[in-house]
Symmetry: C2
Subunit: 203 residues, 2 copies
């Protein structure tokens, strides 16, 4: 195949990008910073020649502190659980939480997969469709680099405390946390389905 100079440069750049993200991923895993549930999927994708993963989250239950304006900042996380949470542990965190407004959220998984051509980006869209992932798409398409974002659908989002005062009863929170734990399991099952679909497409 004949390649233009531009194509050659893009291929070399993609290889470097893939290597860099691969190293970042391995370091995150070694440092215990990667969410356990998403590691097999990250490794599967990293082992495929034309694909890499950049940022990702396996899905989580969080307590978030919002300022008076209602805006969110990374520093405003009070707690993040990437696994089932026991009610006692959860309530302790809620009770200790200080701030204008405290929200309970269940966030679904979010995954960014990079690749080197529109054709390969289309293959990722096909994988998403096959795995029933309804949210996401090619979020960036610059030169020879395509980033596909994938987002799960499970969600809970509500304020539970305001200026030190509980807004809902503890019985409701217990019931809702059980629901959040269940949704988190469903989210991880969905992630597993996405992994299987990827492995089928990439093999």
């Amino acid at each position: 195949m004949l390649r233009s100079k531009k194509q050659g440069k893009e291929i070399a750049r993609f290889k470097m990008t893939k290597e860099r993200h691969g190293k970042t991923m391995l370091k995150a895993i070694a440092d215990g910073k990667a969410d356990k549930q998403v590691i097999p999927l990250l490794k599967s994708i990293a082992s495929a020649k034309d694909f890499f993963t950049s940022s990702s989250c396996s899905g989580r239950i969080i307590l978030l502190k919002l300022d008076a304006k209602g805006s969110k900042a990374e520093s405003a996380f009070i707690e993040r659980w990437h696994k089932q949470v026991k009610f006692g542990e959860f309530m302790k965190a809620v009770r200790n939480a200080k701030g204008n407004e405290i929200w309970l959220k269940l966030d679904p998984f979010i995954l960014h997969v990079g690749t080197n051509s529109l054709e390969n980006a289309r293959r990722i869209l096909k994988v998403m469709q096959g795995a029933g992932v309804k949210r996401g798409g090619i979020a960036s398409a610059k030169g020879g680099k395509f980033i596909v974002e994938m987002i799960g659908t499970q969600a809970i989002s509500l304020p539970v405390k305001s200026r030190g005062k509980m807004l809902v009863e503890s019985g409701y929170l217990k019931w809702l946390l059980a629901k959040a734990n269940k949704k988190l399991s469903a989210n991880y099952a969905h992630l597993k389905r996405l992994q299987n679909e990827f492995e089928r497409e990439l093999e």
Copy 2:
């Protein structure tokens, strides 16, 4: 410019698709089925040669009925408001709501814009970025048709009633509905910003 037979077919097909979606849109507006807040944006996009809109929602406050399995179906909508809701009207709908579980949700806008080339799809991604829309991307890229999905970020999602029994206090719901109304306004302001950004790009 020389065109292949395939390209010629794709161009003709795109023109037909754009016309069809344009007619569907005008009918929805005439029948009062299009959300008011999104109409100017839909019209702007439809007036540009290489773009069209397919399904869209301007953002809304909803009451949703979930079955025992927790799955959602279009038929499970109890109420949908595409505008600020008064507490009296809201509570009446909550009180009358029957079903296993009733959820209150604030859904952000969701917009699908179609175009005819990767280059034009990139322009839409650029518009999204310029307008601060963080969720979405090219959700479909088949032949000569690209669909870009755009989703706002405002969200509330919680169960308020279970098997006929209220789960939270009416005072909390009043406070939360005021918050939902405020978020809905912020969502519409975001949609307006997206419209301005589109008009700047397409002019």
